[in-house]
Subunit: 261 residues, 2 copies
């Protein structure tokens, strides 16, 4: 039987899940999707994600692929899976792709955003998707740090400790950041968007946590520069909570942020 | 012992609650608040809300008052209650007020807003606070209906059937709408805001449901005019789902929308 490769673009609310990666006795996005694909096609299958998101992190445009013998049309994957999935996970697109396509290896870049609100007391309807910051934050100071991370850098200072298999050959902690910016969403809400060729584990949350230290005047811009240069996780600020982070998009055809995206 | 009147301004995420009003064996905002106030003050107390919100409706600025002998400072009500309340309910302000103040009777007006997004598949992170509309909606047509509800009208067509005690004397279903408008929040998201001196049960949701029928060309603007004039619930469109609706603010000192609020 001919096998086909199906690419899924999907969104999820990370609130209720223990992250992307399948784990025994845990509700995970990959685990739930693999289970529903098997129900739909009656074939066990392995889903390959473009990356792993941590517990609590949301996604608007995660990508994954799987190979299957089933002759089901793509729309059956989209609508069939959505009819079985909980409301917290939705397939936005299902397409048949060439076997040359690989959700992780073919990715040219990813964009994440992180949402903050400044408030003494967070509105309950914001609590799942916005990090509440009590103290006033100087976004101008944080913006001045951004040129220090845009470009090609060794991001060891922002990598979760013990997260990478150092014996595996590769590019180490060197990543290219294409763009990083803050934008005001409303009177007390901001969004930080960062696009790059790849991200180390906890890298966005560690950058955000360290930027917030600058914004709250607990670190200077020079301290931030020294932290990047230190290539040492111990030098940087705390890891920002997961619930403010969204995986926005994964790029396969063009590099994000090169043209001001 | 001197009794005091405390005014609470509060916000809640209606997702998990069976509405405002205390009900046996149901999680309600009033029920939870009365329980926590009693724990804090060791006095049983009755909380008087500015109105009742339906199950699933959210609030950014609900107001309620209660009378108590406790000498606790107002900040103890605010921080003490917040430390005991679930994340879905937050006290934004606690103030001691004159006994002339009454959360419901002193209110001059209220503003609600209703959130829609137009999408084939709703993003999971929007599903709790935005009504998803699959078909394209003509907001221009909906806007043309708004002058037909602004001002003083008998809103019987938009009142939940069997909701009012007709034997109770009063102004019947006549209400004054100060302002009503649509605004675009992002490329496929809209917010409908309506302010008035008071709202009948399900009135905002029934207006929204009927406006959407116009926006989707299932009713004309003339039909909408006839529906208002009919003073008959059976004439109007369906009740829009609760989860898109937010009680935004209650006005005690000035009339909302008179100066373009």
């Amino acid at each position: 039987m001919t096998r086909r490769r199906i690419k899924l673009t999907l969104a999820f609310d990370g609130t209720l899940y223990s992250g992307w990666q399948r784990q025994r006795d845990q509700l995970t996005i990959q685990g739930i999707l693999e289970e529903k694909i098997a129900v739909l096609t009656r074939e066990p299958t392995a889903l390959h994600g473009a990356g792993r998101t941590d517990a609590g992190v949301h996604a608007l445009g995660m990508v994954a692929h799987f190979d299957i013998a089933s002759a089901l049309p793509c729309r059956a994957f989209k609508y069939g899976l959505n009819s079985m999935l909980p409301g917290g996970i939705r397939i936005l697109q299902a397409e048949e792709v060439d076997f040359a396509f690989h959700a992780r290896r073919s990715a040219l870049g990813k964009c994440y955003f992180y949402q903050f609100c400044q408030a003494e007391i967070a509105l309950p309807t914001d609590r799942l998707y916005w990090l509440k910051i009590k103290e006033s934050v100087d976004f101008g100071l944080m913006e001045k740090c951004l040129p220090l991370i845009i470009g090609i850098h060794d991001f060891s200072s922002f990598e979760a400790s013990g997260s990478r298999d150092k014996s595996r050959p590769g590019r180490g902690a060197v990543r290219q950041i294409y763009s990083a910016r803050f934008e005001m969403k409303s009177v007390n809400k901001w969004r930080f968007t960062i696009c790059g060729d790849g991200f180390l584990r906890h890298m966005v949350r560690n950058i955000v946590g360290t930027l917030l230290e600058v914004g709250q005047c607990r670190l200077t811009i020079d301290d931030f520069r020294d932290i990047v240069a230190a290539k040492n996780r111990a030098a940087a600020g705390p890891t920002a909570p997961a619930h403010g982070l969204f995986l926005e998009e994964i790029f396969y055809n063009s590099i994000p942020g090169k043209n001001g995206i």
